[in-house]
Amino acid sequence: MTHDPLQDSIDPSETLSVHEAHEDHHHVSPFWPMLWVFVVLVVLTFLTVWTSRMHEIVIGNTTIEFGTTLHILVAMAIAVVKAGLVAAYFMHLKYDKPMNTVVVGATIFAVTLFIGLTLGDLDARRFAGMKDMQYHILGGDVHFDAAGNRVKGKGIVQTAKDNAHAESSSPAAQSHSQPATGDAKPAEAPGAKPGGH
């Protein structure tokens, strides 16, 4: 089989006398930028704590209420920025071969799908209403009310009847009595077949 003689002799880049081979591998991480990144990170951490502990902010005469959701959004936004800084500077992504960034991209893609889609389904299911979790610890129909007091159940037959009535009577009772996942209310059933009768 053919092979050029170069392949047999030693590739110069393998020996240390020659420096060219190493150049693009060596980006020296600069001191001051890195220090600044660090300072910014600490500041952002402060910011996270500060925002998470405030309940409303007043700009001029407009007041923005800080609900839980907003807290999460702000905190996560800051966290993402911090992570980005660490990745770009401390972890050298800014200076490296783009391949490493591609790896990170693929990872973020997978994580987003995983968490995003899973939560999407669970969220929909939550509206379908979960049966009281304590139900099966104590058995029977015993459960806890919102205040956490134990409430004696009424037996499964009675529950069944109530559910049945709740079914036909009040759509309001839907969410508890008929929490089948994702069922729209029978009243506004898009494309529902006629019941065959």
Binding site: Q7, A106, T118, D121, A124
Partner: protein
């Protein structure tokens, strides 16, 4: 680094002790690959035995050879007596449940996931790229020992009562059951996951950094492409299995209650966690099989593969889409809106798959097809995989899947893809590369006999199961209603034919190792680098780093290396611009 460079990688060292140590500490990807091959074969036999037991159990709807005295379950109980954990009796169904669980768990985690990438991939990926070894030989060895370690846990579980949760370990059953030693089996799968991750990292880096100078992405053999796509999934999906099983173990030991409804947890969350890995995992299983099929068809048809780029890209496309479809395993558990979304996404994955099949068959057009064992396997791969693929759409279609979900239709579909696809391709690849791996030819005639028997046995076993599924025979059933008796009988008979086929293959390979004639460097007239190396290759694969002079499938313009022009003549039309493999 001393004088072993010109000997076969199989050559023994000066003393027996040194030879053994040379295998124990080896960093040679070929040796690690061979060790993987042996281990996975063992796992395959073990799980195969359980499969035979399962089929035998189903010979009769309720009871067969009953030994009522020992309260063992019918057939399986005869073989697996005395698995009583914490004084619990072996009830009539229980040993059967363990048998199908162990069949599934061992086949999936110990055989089919590592079999092609970690065994054949390990041996041939670096050679095909013209490299001396994989990127991280130590990591490679670590991956092998991790596999062994995980295997030990599986054996521990086996010895201490097995598991009977089904290989899917659905909570809350798996987190509460007292039968067998589920925890050990879960830990086994957990550890095996890491072995798989290490292999994946290794192969990605190898493909990126160790291609021979001048080999561009589209000069790579399609097997390398498939392994690359597989490795990506292994890296990106397996960690989620790790965390899932870790949480499940904690659920069983610390009762953390995340998946346990009795403590406010949510079992469906587990299903999402599990399938986020385990659906991509089925592509970890099939993609390498597709890669092998591409090699087999191209080489044994002696024809430039049709639509090289289409096949290459479809591998990557499948890898990407595989992350988008997991929830189609939960159509009966999920909300309507999500089912619709995932149903649509699931159909996407069928498109690149279909493209592959079309390309493979077009490759056979105007080819020069040698109907030897590897090609027979390539064709039975095409046959079975096409069926497996075409029975996917019914399961992706919402209305139909609601009916077919968790019935024998799913069982048949899965086996047509996994066994009819991956295992057929694996066996084909085994015959294809056997001369290269061990430097011995196998007996062609008996090889073909085995191939035909496996093909017939497989189809007899599983085709009938589609009918059972459409009639609503649920899976994982130890006892069933009498209407299905004749179906199950046929299926069971098929499993015996299948067994016979594998037996013949075992004998053929054994004979080849003992008395097979020495293999030439290039018995099939292949053009990829492994056919330029010796059979078996030397320690660093090549005496001199090979130079890329032609594409992997340029059969029309190149006489294969180490082959005479009499055997592989060039068509006069292609004479101009002819190159030569040497």
């Amino acid at each position: 680094m001393s004088g072993h460079h010109h000997e076969s990688y199989l050559a023994p060292r000066e003393t027996l002790w040194k030879s053994i140590m040379a295998w124990v500490y080896t960093l040679d990807h070929k040796r690690i690959g061979v060790m993987y091959l042996i281990a996975t074969t063992f796992a395959f036999l073990l799980a195969g035995v359980f499969a035979l037991l399962v089929r035998a159990e189903l010979w009769e709807p309720t009871r067969t050879i009953v030994d009522e005295a020992t309260n063992q379950t019918r057939v399986v109980g005869q073989f697996l007596p005395g698995w009583t954990e914490r004084g619990l009796p072996v009830t009539p169904n229980n040993a059967y449940n363990r048998a199908f669980t162990l069949h599934g768990a061992i086949m999936v985690f110990l055989f089919i996931i590592p079999a092609v990438p970690a065994a054949l991939g390990n041996i041939f990926l670096p050679i095909m790229l013209g490299a001396k070894d994989v990127a991280f030989p130590r990591l490679n060895l670590l991956s092998w020992y991790t596999y062994v370690f995980g295997g030990l846990f599986a054996v521990w579980s086996l010895a201490s009562g097995g598991a009977e949760t089904g290989w899917t370990f659905y909570t809350p059953y798996s987190s509460t059951t007292n039968w067998g030693s589920t925890t050990a089996m879960v830990l086994a799968a957990f550890i095996l996951g890491f072995s798989s991750i290490f292999t994946g990292i290794n192969f990605v880096a190898t493909v990126h950094k160790l291609r021979v100078p001048g080999m561009g992405w589209f000069d790579m053999p399609l097997f390398a492409w498939a392994i690359y796509a597989t490795a990506i999934i292994q890296v990106l999906a397996t960690p989620v299995l790790g965390i899932t099983l870790l949480l499940l173990v904690l659920e069983r030991t610390l009762r953390i209650g995340i998946f346990d409804p009795a403590m406010g947890g949510d079992p469906v969350l587990f299903q999402h966690f599990f399938w986020f890995y385990s659906h991509p995992a089925v592509y970890i299983m099939i993609l390498p099989g597709m890669g092998i099929a591409s090699e087999l068809i191209a080489v044994h048809c002696h024809k430039k593969i049709f639509g090289y780029r289409a096949i290459a890209f479809s591998s990557i496309a499948i890898a990407a889409i595989s992350f988008l479809v997991w929830a189609h395993h939960m159509f009966t558990a999920q909300t309507a809106a999500f089912n619709a979304v995932f149903s649509a996404l699931t159909f996407l994955v069928a498109i690149p798959t279909a493209i592959k099949v079309f390309n493979w068959i077009s490759t056979m057009y105007k080819a020069s097809i040698a109907l030897n064992t590897p090609m027979l396997y390539a064709m039975s791969f095409l046959f079975c995989f096409t069926i497996g693929g075409l029975t996917g759409p019914p399961l992706a279609t919402l209305a139909v899947d609601i009916h077919l979900h968790d019935t024998y239709f799913v069982v048949a579909h899965f086996h047509y893809v996994m066994m009819g696809g991956t295992v057929m391709a694996f066996l084909g690849g085994l015959h294809h590369w056997w001369p290269k791996m061990f430097g011995k030819m196998y007996n062609e005639f008996w090889g073909r006999v085995g191939a035909v028997l496996v093909f017939i046995g497989f189809n007899v076993t599983f085709f009938i199961q589609f009918f059972m599924g459409t009639q609503g025979m649920p899976r994982r059933y130890a006892t069933y209603v009498e209407e299905f008796t004749s179906f199950h009988k046929i299926s069971t008979v098929g499993s015996w034919i299948l067994f016979l086929g594998f037996l013949i293959h075992a004998l053929v390979f054994a004979h080849s190792l003992v008395a097979g004639r020495a293999a030439p460097k290039n018995p099939w007239g292949g053009l990829t680098f492994e056919w330029e190396a010796d059979s078996p290759p030397v320690e660093h694969n090549f005496d001199h780093e090979p130079v890329i002079t032609h594409g992997p499938y340029d059969f029309e313009s190149v006489v294969p290396p180490h082959c005479s022009e009499q055997d592989f003549p060039l068509h006069p039309a292609a004479q101009n611009g002819r190159a030569h493999g040497h």
